[in-house]
Symmetry: C2
Subunit: 492 residues, 2 copies
Amino acid sequence: MADQLTKRSENYSQWYNDLVLKADLAEQSAVRGCMVIKPYGYAIWEKMQRILDDKFKATGAKNAYFPLFIPKSFFSREAEHVAGFAKECAVVTHHRLMNDPNGNGVVVDPEAKLEEELIVRPTSETIIWNTYKNWITSWRDLPIMCNQWCNVVRWEMRTRLFLRTAEFLWQEGHTAHATAEEAQEEAKRMVHVYADFARNYMALPVIIGHKSPNERFAGALDTLTIEAMMQDGKALQAGTSHFLGQNFAKSFDVTYTDNEGKQQYVWATSWGVSTRLMGALIMAHSDDNGLVLPPALAPIQIVMVPIYRKPEEMAAILEKMEQIKKKLEAMGHSVEIDSRDNLRPGFKFAEWELKGVPVRLAMGPRDLESGTVEVHRRDTLEKVTMQLDGIEEHIHGLLDDIQKTIYDKAFAFRQTHVEKCDSWEEFKEKIGTGKFLLCHWDGTAETEQAIKDETKATIRCIPVDSFVCEEEGKDIFSGKPSKGRVVFGIAY
Amino acid sequence: MADQLTKRSENYSQWYNDLVLKADLAEQSAVRGCMVIKPYGYAIWEKMQRILDDKFKATGAKNAYFPLFIPKSFFSREAEHVAGFAKECAVVTHHRLMNDPNGNGVVVDPEAKLEEELIVRPTSETIIWNTYKNWITSWRDLPIMCNQWCNVVRWEMRTRLFLRTAEFLWQEGHTAHATAEEAQEEAKRMVHVYADFARNYMALPVIIGHKSPNERFAGALDTLTIEAMMQDGKALQAGTSHFLGQNFAKSFDVTYTDNEGKQQYVWATSWGVSTRLMGALIMAHSDDNGLVLPPALAPIQIVMVPIYRKPEEMAAILEKMEQIKKKLEAMGHSVEIDSRDNLRPGFKFAEWELKGVPVRLAMGPRDLESGTVEVHRRDTLEKVTMQLDGIEEHIHGLLDDIQKTIYDKAFAFRQTHVEKCDSWEEFKEKIGTGKFLLCHWDGTAETEQAIKDETKATIRCIPVDSFVCEEEGKDIFSGKPSKGRVVFGIAY
């Protein structure tokens, strides 16, 4: 089973693709660039959704739903936004098919051309701000904090399952505020919600920071990001939160009467994470045997495999396993007993390793006699035989330990792959070897672009909570003065 | 507030539309036929989703996600399906916009024409069966039971919020089985899941039955439905479950090797409910004061309104209310205290009635002194003053009572609006007056069509669990022999 996986050391990118397919997470569909998310992959996404949704609601955000389609003209209203989003997109031009007069199935009915083309949403700022216009009159109507879970489409040329697909699933929060300060605070609050989720549930150490102007969301005054390091040392942008200023309010004429009776433009934020998180989760922790899932997001936390020769042995072992399962479920854990009778234990072991189940229990007739069970942890691949007495409490604690160990491992990896760099020659040598480099930057878009052109590296963020280094220095490329170091990396 | 609602007796259809808008459930968007589901409306839909999702999973179904787009050619593969679905739909023909050479915003880039047009899914049988083809080899791969929560688009000409919109939200279950019997059982199981949900959560008495061939889903051998009666006596199809036979398996060449080594085509079902349920919920129970929500689906089950003149009065009342709120929340109820200081109690009362909150508590300084509270129930509009002692347990029971009372009222209404009819003259007189008529039918599509042409009435279902009447008789229109009565009604 794991033999079928390309090794990370051979071809990291192929390893990832193999893993997504073989662990039954997702696959390409018949539609170019659109994926099918299979039940096992979707179960992980559902866990992510549930946890994030609760966190959003705790901040006061409410879910709503806005249309899939956006009139083409809406994109022209916000100048930067159109440049960023309205180019590669799915355009609906007709609303009817008809039988082919030549008898070959169905064809587009030329009579059914839309007066104005509709764009399948690549993001919803425009349609939402056009709606907010009618919802906002006075300061008493603010803040408005809506989130939607939905699909979006961006016509990507090169796609990779979860990481970059033409259609993907995401959530997008859109908030409206009376003051710039309040909106900025909201943008900050949400990037911290994302960071907490990444760290505590995905076991993913992330750096929080500001994007440089070049890398900002189209239409934003400030973009906050969480940046993660994958096992190949590349950066993955895992979530963003934008302070949009009054750009969309002005484009869609959204004003409110303040408590002194004056008309003011409304201040905006938007924030989102997508099924790309699945890619980050998979790439950050998994190994050559398959997925490694943090227990907090594993659809199955514990799998039990009975080992037997005779049917009566199986019956006795399964009975014992059912008892353990009930107790673990009562503690809130998800458990599966793999009683398939057409597969050998070794095959099952490999399959559950491939699927990243954190804990595996195996029990044979001798275990049953001696009151023991074999406990295998997926993260370290360690195996120990333990007494059945108190096994549920042990596993409960073990899951916590696995969660922590996975985080610690990813954290240690990152710490050894981030370094300061003050020489351009050294930068060029090292940046392609799977590292984040902390360098001085003169703050100009030109320098950033020049560095990107030469090395493919971009400023992942100007960090605010890890690797913060505010000190005088000289730009690594231009030699001009700099006020602090930023994080450079090669991004997915 | 309620004054702004059209009365049901004046114009039922306008009343419905007013209510959806004024209770903040949904509104039209800038895109023709597409709605915005507002937070209060979406909160009800989320409750529906959560309950249904748990029920689906209890049957063994798993969630997954399939592409939004379907290649045009897929629709031509299943002959009936193309006729039913591929006509009025959103067609994506291009994948890029470009700056207008004349400087007027953006236009479709003629160079970016797709080789094959993509249809925004109106339902997903075709793309899913094209996917299942790769998932199914042996009988061991069966059954497959996937569900997806998603958006679909059908280019409706006349739209009404929730009831009929171009884009709507729904779930669609698609299952694959080894035998016809197993698939038929699945179709039956799921229509019962829908009926249980409608009856026990939506407080909606529904009739379960088979659709006549004319009204079947395009491509199905049998369609099971739940049919509800609205307050105007019209029928609303609230959910359907289809036995699709081997039609899609044959169109997409999906076979399995049975346990004797023979190749067999796979058997299919599909089943779905949509945001149309919101329309059913609203229309079935609400009154001229606004929404009436069954407690099981109310986003806010209890609202508390403080009544005071002086700030210190308010503080004392709010403190007491917080105590009650905590206890109610611990019992699993959702509670809101309306402490807005710019609105009078009477205005708040009307607003919460409009929004259908099942229980309202009002408390003034005298109540506080005497240890009492005014309890108002939305369904009957009854108001009683009660002792605070034990109030939480009382409300807990009251919510159950309201749930039951709402169901009983709808049930009693339906029972008095269903009658047997054996005369064509009587049928023509009565069918437009808001009734379901139980009539003999000869089983032919021609007769059904003739009746529809003359009266707009359709066979809502051949009932299987309410109003079942298998007896010899004569068709009400053709006079030909009939083996039982079916339910006729005018449908939404």
